[in-house]
């Protein structure tokens, strides 16, 4: 017994020194050590459990951080300090918010479907957390390495909108139902450009696996420029289309029509209070982080460093730095743009984004086949052709979207 224990201690010290020597792989090494302690038949379950615990704690912490950043950032943009009462500079505000949510009364409307009303936020959080499972957070650090990870991500991500509809339906409230219907309409419209934009990356790599998509973006062009997809013409346009779709998918401003407080009270959240409301809130933020994580993976080079001489910084640090940058961008946009009207929302998706993403797909194909060009000015020529192929249609699409429509004068007839 004593020998076994001293053996464990020796291996633990070895693992720790290995983790310190190579911080890039520290989480992987640590997990492998913890798993090796358990007997063979338990190792799979324990490994999964460690991944789940790590994901929930990291993203739970990020959720808390993000709510604080959002409130502080919005405050600064509106020239006020933001929450500054709880703890130094208000950094303990998320704790106070959480306690408040926990102690609130949980109200279920009398005529509501109590079971569905309960299960909707649970499904929502579950599906949001599922989407986190396939993202590569660092070198060798994808919790599940699926061959069709992108497909899994979108399948699980689409289920969140279903849970939103469930919430709206189960509440038996007209505002909830209207909000839920808007959410479904929005999802169907914006899932398309989102998918088409991410297909470009899939098309070039030839794999749905997010790990191989990140691997393909490693290395540097001319020794300085990282080989990220966003630094190609199709990747740049794809990234912008993807981000617009991501804003709509995560129901964030300016696409927060499902919970437009000026029209629908709080949409599907109207009949929710207490911890169920907190779950909705958490799912929204985790969904936002997940889709930002996917944008980082597909277009911003995943966990790869932006400059060669910073390659020694652990890979997961780069991933989370990029993730938080995108999250800040979400907050920045929320503070800037007003909410779209329902018809503007649909027009933007169907008349502008979807045609543009199809054209972008064509440009991706061109980029793939022109990679073999070997004459002197090959790269500028490729850029020029791709730019023209995207900019000209964009100009026309933008023009027709911006044209002012004149409506016939509306006449009202009243009962005599």
């Amino acid at each position: 017994m004593n020998e076994l224990f001293s053996e464990w201690v020796r291996r633990a010290v070895e693992t720790l020194s290995e983790m310190l020597r190579n911080p890039d792989q520290a989480p992987v090494v640590g997990k492998a050590f913890i798993v090796s302690v358990f007997p063979e038949f338990l190792q799979g379950v324990v490994g999964a459990f460690i991944s789940i615990a790590a994901l929930i704690s990291v993203f739970g912490g990020l959720f808390a951080l993000l709510t604080l950043m959002e409130r502080k950032g919005l405050g600064r943009i509106q020239n006020r300090p933001g929450p500054n009462r709880v703890g130094p500079f208000g950094i303990l505000q998320p704790v106070a918010d959480g306690l408040k949510m926990l102690t609130k009364e949980d109200i279920v409307p009398f005529r509501a479907d109590a079971f569905l009303h309960f299960i909707a936020p649970v499904i929502l959080v579950m599906m949001s957390l599922l989407t986190l499972a396939v993202i590569p957070y660092g070198r060798n650090m994808a919790p599940i390495e699926l061959d069709s990870a992108l497909l899994f991500f979108f399948a699980a991500g689409a289920c969140t909108e279903l849970a939103v509809f469930l919430a709206g339906w189960a509440s038996r409230n007209k505002y909830s139902l209207l909000g839920a219907m808007r959410a479904i309409a929005q999802m169907i419209s914006y899932e398309l450009p989102l998918l088409l934009a991410s297909f470009s990356a899939v098309l070039l790599v030839g794999s749905l696996s997010l790990v191989s998509i990140v691997d393909s973006q490693g290395g540097f062009m001319l020794g300085v420029l990282p080989k990220w997809n966003v630094l190609t013409p199709w990747g740049f346009v794809g990234f912008i289309i993807f981000m617009i779709g991501a804003f709509a998918e995560s129901n964030r401003s300016p696409f927060d029509l499902p919970e437009a407080e000026s029209e629908l009270i709080a949409g599907h959240l109207t009949e929710y209070s207490g911890f169920k409301y907190a779950l909705f809130f958490m799912a929204e933020y985790i969904g936002m982080l997940a889709i930002s994580g996917l944008a980082v993976t597909l277009f911003l080079g995943g966990w790869h460093a932006p400059v060669p001489f910073l390659g020694w910084v652990p890979s997961y640090c780069w991933f989370f730095a990029k993730l938080l940058t995108l999250a800040c961008f979400f907050i920045w946009v929320r503070a800037t743009l007003p909410r779209l009207r329902a018809d503007q929302l649909m027009a933007l998706a169907w008349k502008c984004l979807i045609p543009l993403s199809f054209i972008n797909l064509g440009v991706t194909v061109f980029w793939h086949y022109s990679a073999a060009w070997s004459f002197a000015m090959a790269l500028p020529a490729r850029w020029g052709i791709a730019f023209l192929a995207l900019a000209v249609p964009y100009t026309f699409l933008a023009r027709q979207l911006g044209t002012k429509k004149t409506f016939a004068r509306r006449t009202y007839r009243f009962a005599e």
């Binding site: 600064r76 943009i77 020239n79 006020r80 300090p81 920045w332 800037t336 933008a398």
Partner: protein
């Protein structure tokens, strides 16, 4: 061009964000419990009763005429006139209750008071732990000195004091004239 407006908007918000860190003058809010905004001269919260001199009971200007009670739109004032042992009414309120949970700060009681005895206060931090009993202010809680009134709204108080002084002088002059007339009449009568 579609999209340029969004970028311009993002620049505006970014400038506000960065500006709020180095320019304190951008801040439109104050840290309320620690910092307070000076209330404007005409700001009013709830009425109080003014007394002259040091004694809150004897110096009270209120004569229990009940004009304010009758004119109060939400009916938040309740007055009972004081009577002496024989039941003769005195020019003093025995009870003066004002329910500030009902009061709507209209200031009509101040307008109608012929004795300048009820004035508007500037205290707005009146939060209490009990909803009914602690928000019903009695005579003792309502009585505040003229010096206090002068400190909260100097312009109005100065105007009132000047007018009262004038009236006092006029009354004194009139009394003197009446006394002279009387004494003159008395001097004439024996003839």
């Amino acid at each position: 061009m579609l999209g340029t407006g969004i970028i311009r908007g993002l620049v505006v918000t970014a400038r506000n964000f960065l500006g709020s860190f180095y320019d304190r003058r951008r801040f439109v809010t104050v840290f309320y419990p620690e910092q307070k905004v000076e209330m404007p001269e005409r700001f009013r919260s709830f009425p109080f009763l003014v007394y002259d001199g040091e004694d809150a009971v004897r110096g009270l200007r209120c004569v229990a005429c009940k004009i304010c009670e009758k004119n109060c739109p939400p009916q938040c004032i309740y007055i009972v006139q004081q009577r002496d042992e024989k039941g003769k009414p005195l020019k003093h309120p025995a009870v003066f209750d004002l329910d500030i949970s009902v009061c709507m700060s209209c200031g009509i009681c101040v307008e109608v008071c012929p004795f300048d005895s009820i004035k508007m206060d500037k205290v707005f931090e009146v939060a209490e732990s009990a909803r009914f009993e602690k928000l019903l202010f009695g005579k003792a809680a309502l009585s505040k000195s003229n010096a206090y009134y002068r400190s909260v709204s100097p312009a109005d108080a100065g105007e009132t004091d000047a007018r009262l002084e004038e009236e006092k002088k006029a009354a004194a002059a009139k009394a003197q004239a009446a006394a002279q007339k009387k004494s003159a009449a008395q001097a004439q009568e024996p003839q």
